[in-house]
Subunit: 318 residues, 2 copies
C-alpha cells in the first residue's frame, strides 16, 4: 500500500514511517519540518520505497500534487502544543483545523478515501467520568488545541458521511518514547541538565495524566486499521493506568541519581486549559487484543534514556 504520512518527520510520524516501511509499504512523507526533524528519517531514507516531500499543509496545491497515487492517508501533522494555545490562537486554527480541511480536499481530488487521524484526549475537556470512554457526555472544550482537534475530527466525520470516506480517529493520551521532543519529561530533563539542584514544576504536582509508549501507540493504530471497519472508527489510545506529576518526577530523579528541590508554581492546572486529570477508557481498542507492552513508568524511563543518549535533541528543543 502507498501511504501518505503528514507530519511524518515528527515524533510519532517518523516512528510510524519506520514501521510502515518495515511492513513493506511505500511511504510518502509530507512535512514542513517546523517541528519535525529530518534526521528522524535517516533510517527511512535508506529504503527505496520512501520519499520525503517538504511542504506545508496550508499550500493546497503542493499537498494535492504530493498525494497523487497514494491509497491511505495518516494525518499526524499538527500543532501539538496544547500549552501555548492562548499565545497564538491562529496557529491551532490554521495548523490543525484548516490543515485537516486541506488534507481532506486533497484526498477528494486524488480519489483517496481512507484516513487515520491523530486526535487527542484533550477534546474531552475536563470530563467528569474516569476512565473517560469515547461516548462520554458531549464535552465542553477548554483549550484551543482541543477545539482545533475536535474541529478536525468533525470535518473528517462529515467527509465520511458526505463523500464516502472511511476514518480511524485516535484520541491519544500523551505519547512517550524515542524521538520525543516536547512534554514534561523533556522539560524536566532539560531543566535538570541546566540546574540539577532544583526543578520548577507547573501546577501543584498532583495533576494526574495517562501516557503511552510510542511503539504501543503505533501497534494500536496498525491493529485498529485491520480490526475496525465502520464508516467512522473512534478509539481512545492510552495506558490503563495514570501517574501524577510527582510520580514521574520521582522516577526521573531517582534514575538520574539526584534530589532537586521541587518548586511548584501551585494551582491544580499546569496552564490555562490544562486538564488536571486525563485517564481514558481504552476498552474499545483492547477488544482487538491490543495491550501496551510498557508501563507508564517504563515509558518515562525509556524516554529519559532516549534524551540522555541524544543530547542534541534536548539542546535544540522545540
Amino acid at each position: 500500500m502507498k501511504c501518505f504520512v503528514t507530519g511524518g518527520a515528527g515524533f510519532i510520524g517518523s516512528n510510524l514511517v519506520d514501521r510502515l516501511l518495515s511492513a513493506g509499504h511505500q511511504v510518502v512523507v509530507f512535512d514542513n519540518l517546523s517541528t519535525g526533524q529530518e534526521d528522524f528519517l535517516d533510517g527511512a531514507r535508506q529504503v527505496p520505497a520512501f520519499a520525503l516531500i517538504r511542504g506545508d499543509l496550508l499550500d493546497s496545491a503542493a499537498l494535492t500534487k504530493a498525494m497523487f497515487g497514494c491509497e491511505f492517508v495518516f494525518h499526524l501533522a499538527a500543532n501539538a502544543d496544547v500549552r501555548f494555545g492562548t499565545a497564538h490562537p491562529r496557529k491551532d486554527l490554521e495548523q490543525n483545523t484548516i490543515a485537516t480541511f486541506n488534507v481532506l480536499e486533497s484526498m477528494r481530488s486524488n480519489a483517496i478515501n481512507r484516513i487515520a487521524f491523530s486526535s487527542t484526549g484533550s477534546i474531552y475537556g475536563e470530563p467528569q467520568v474516569f476512565p473517560t470512554p469515547e461516548n462520554v457526555s458531549f464535552p465542553t472544550q477548554t483549550s484551543l488545541y482541543g477545539a482545533s482537534k475536535l474541529a478536525g475530527e468533525s470535518l473528517i466525520q462529515a467527509y465520511c458521511e458526505g463523500f464516502g470516506f472511511r476514518a480511524w480517529i485516535f484520541r491519544f493520551v500523551s505519547i512517550l518514547g524515542e524521538r520525543y521532543t516536547h512534554g514534561h519529561v523533556f522539560d524536566f530533563y532539560k531543566q535538570l541538565c541546566e540546574h540539577p539542584n532544583h526543578l520548577d514544576v507547573l501546577g501543584d504536582g498532583n495533576q494526574r495524566k495517562s501516557y503511552l509508549y510510542v511503539q504501543d501507540c503505533i501497534d494500536a493504530i496498525l491493529l485498529a486499521l485491520g480490526s475496525y471497519n465502520e464508516k467512522v472508527n473512534i478509539l481512545n489510545l492510552g495506558a490503563d493506568e495514570y501517574c501524577s506529576v510527582r510520580d514521574s518526577i520521582s522516577w526521573i530523579t531517582k534514575e538520574l541519581g539526584i534530589t532537586p528541590e521541587l518548586r511548584f508554581a501551585g494551582g491544580q492546572r499546569g496552564w490555562i486549559g490544562d486538564s488536571p486529570f486525563i485517564f481514558l477508557d481504552c476498552n474499545r481498542i483492547r477488544d482487538s487484543g491490543w495491550r501496551p507492552k510498557l508501563s507508564i513508568r517504563e515509558a518515562v524511563l525509556r524516554t529519559l534514556q532516549y534524551l540522555r543518549s541524544n543530547p542534541r535533541v534536548v539542546g535544540r528543543g522545540v
Copy 2:
C-alpha cells in the same frame, strides 16, 4: 447596551435587531448581505440607535473596526444551508468556522467578552436519544454544516476558558416565521406557486423534525442571557413537539386549498447528512420559565402567511 449583531440583516438576525432596538439597546449590524436582505432592516433604520455596516466576516480588519465600542456580540451570521454542504465544503469552513474565529479575535481586540452564538441541533448528527438533551453522548458529525458549527462552538468554549469570555450557545431546531427565506415551507410554497398540481418531496416524507417560531426563539435568547450565567451556557431551543414532512404538507395544502400529487424522492433522508429525526430536549431553557407561544402547526401557517403576503421574497429565493 451596545450590541453587535453579525448576520443582522438575515431572517433571525433582523428579527432580533428589531427586538433589541425595542428594548432600548443600541445595535450595530455587520452583514455582507449575501443572504441577508437590506429591507428586513427598514424598520430598524428609523431608529437613531441603529447602524448597518456592510462587511464580510472574512475581512478581519473591517470587522474589528466595526465592533469598536460594542459590549455584547450576537454572532448569527452563517452559511445556514445544511443541505448543500457537499457541493461546496469550503463555504461552511470559511463562513462558519473561520468567520467565528475572526469574530472571537475581533472581540479580543476590542476587549469584548460576551457572545451569544446560533448553533444548531445538527451537531447531534443522528442521535439515538429523543428528545436529545444538551449532554447526550459525544456525537459523530454527519454534515459539513454541523461540523462547522461544532467547530465554532468549540472555539467559543476555548475562548471562554482561555480568555475569560462568557458565552451563550443556542442549538436551534429549524426556525420559522416572518422573513423566513429558506427551508421546507419556502421550497414547498414556491413549488406550489409554480405547479399547484404536484409537489416534489425529498425523502419519503416521514422525516420528523422539530421547529420553532422566530419570536419564540428570540424570547428564549433574551431570557437566557438574564437567566443563565455560567462561563459557557449551552441551551437547546426547540418546541416540545415534532411533526413529519407529511404533516407539514397537509397543513400547507389545506391552507392553500389544493390537493397536489405528492412525488416522493424516497429514502429516509432528504439529502446526504440529513437527520431523519430531530427533536431536542428543551427542559433546560424551560427551567427559566420560557414556553413557546406558537405550536409547530401555527408556526408553519404563520410562515406560509408571511410568504403569501411577500411574493417578492419568494420570487427572489435564496
